[in-house]
Structures are given as structure tokens and as C-alpha cells.
């Protein structure tokens, strides 16, 4: 009887223990650690970060540059075209250029960034930015009113991009 019990016990022990996947982000905290923010950075077609604990996020808000750290006051900010810096737990900084969107800080250090388009800065071509910029500048002074307004919007985006694209 005790042999059977010992046998089952050894079978259970020899079963490979579950690997608690530490692949980048550890999920499952009930609360965010006191020195981190839980970031969700999503696009309509893709989630770049989903509930990832990071150290700091810098945002290009329409009201100015905004740095979000742990325990930031809850706020809703409209974002303009610009660079989002994310300082991850490992200390590495990732930068994404966004076309625009919104950032929401909720109580408990939860940050949600929603953007329409976001790409790492390396994915942009400085030559294309320059040629688009010239085109948009030309269009912003000629053509119908709507065309001029559209060109002005493109100018804002491209000027922000030309400051960072290499």
C-alpha cells in the first residue's frame, strides 16, 4: 500500500514542472509594482505592448512633452505626431514614431496608448520624408481649401518626422 503511494508520489514529482514563462513580460500581478507602469500600446491592427510593466514613457502630447512614471495622476491626453519613448524594465529604451492618437493614464499606474500608426524610427526613410515634405509645402499654398488643409496636416507630421528620421 505504501509502495503504491510512494510510486504515485514519485510519478508526480518526475513530471516536468511548469515553466513560468518569463518571456519578456511577467503577467499575473494583481497590482502594478510601485515603481513601474503597466503599459498597453495598441494600434488598430496590432498590439505593440499588452500589459507590460515598464519604467517610464515619454509622450508627444498636443499640450507638450509628457513623461509618465509610476503613480502618475490620471489623465487623458491627445497625442500629436511624434516620438514615444519607452524605458523598459531591462533599461533598454524603445522609440516609436506615432502618427497621432490618445494616451490614458488610469489610477494604479495603468497607461494605455492608442495610435493609428506607429513604427520604430529606423523604419523611416529620410529621403522619402524630404520629398514628401517638399510636395506638401507646395500643396499647402495652392489648390482647393480642403487640399491645402490636408497638406497642412501632412506638413505637421512630416516636420516632426524629419526631426528624427535618418
Amino acid at each position: 500500500m505504501s509502495a503504491l503511494r510512494a510510486a504515485t508520489r514519485s510519478v508526480l514529482r518526475s513530471r516536468p514542472t511548469a515553466v513560468f514563462g518569463l518571456r519578456g513580460s511577467v503577467r499575473g500581478y494583481a497590482e502594478v509594482p510601485s515603481d513601474k507602469i503597466r503599459l498597453s500600446f495598441t494600434l488598430p491592427h496590432q498590439a505593440l505592448y499588452k500589459d507590460v510593466d515598464v519604467v517610464q514613457v515619454n509622450l508627444p502630447a498636443t499640450t507638450g512633452e509628457l513623461g509618465v512614471l509610476a503613480a502618475h495622476v490620471p489623465t487623458v491626453e491627445e497625442l500629436k505626431a511624434g516620438v514615444v519613448d519607452i524605458v523598459e524594465e531591462s533599461g533598454a529604451t524603445k522609440q516609436y514614431f506615432i502618427s497621432g492618437g490618445f494616451a490614458v493614464v488610469q489610477p494604479g499606474s495603468l497607461l494605455s496608448i492608442n495610435a493609428v500608426e506607429a513604427y520604430p524610427i529606423e523604419d523611416f526613410s529620410a529621403d522619402l520624408v524630404r520629398s514628401q515634405l517638399a510636395e506638401a509645402q507646395k500643396n499647402s499654398t495652392s489648390g482647393s481649401e480642403i487640399d491645402q488643409v490636408e497638406a497642412k496636416i501632412e506638413l505637421e507630421v512630416l516636420e516632426a518626422l524629419s526631426a528624427v528620421a535618418k
Binding site: G100, G101, V116, E117, Y119, L128, I153, V157
Partner: protein, 65 residues
């Protein structure tokens, strides 16, 4: 009030134009994948006397309407 709002554009339109500008500035391979997101094919058919007309793509359908 922002300049685009004064001109009559909605936020959605503004966001779409800004997104289009960023997509066009991407490097070759990423740009091709991104520009697929802009493509929209809409077809319309005109109804007359309870009968559905021929399907045409939206531009020609609007032009002939």
C-alpha cells in the same frame, strides 16, 4: 479650435491623413505592407422601381448618380 476643425474636417479624417503621411514615409518593404491598410474597395448599385441596378465601384457610381 484647430485649423482642420475650422475647415470642416472631422478628427477621424485628420487621423487618417496623418496616418497616410507616416505610411508614405516608410522604407520600401514596410511601406508596401502598410499601404495595404489604406486600400478600400466599395461597390454600389442604384435601385430604381424596386430593381437593383448594376454594381459599380464607388467613384463611377457616385459620378453617374
Amino acid at each position: 479650435m484647430t485649423f482642420w476643425k475650422e475647415a470642416g474636417l472631422t478628427y477621424n479624417r485628420y487621423a487618417a491623413i496623418a496616418a497616410r503621411a507616416t505610411r508614405r514615409a516608410l522604407k520600401e518593404d514596410k511601406r508596401i505592407l502598410a499601404e495595404r491598410r489604406e486600400q478600400m474597395d466599395i461597390r454600389a448599385a442604384k435601385w430604381e422601381d424596386g430593381k437593383q441596378g448594376e454594381y459599380k465601384d464607388i467613384k463611377t457610381a457616385e459620378a453617374s448618380a
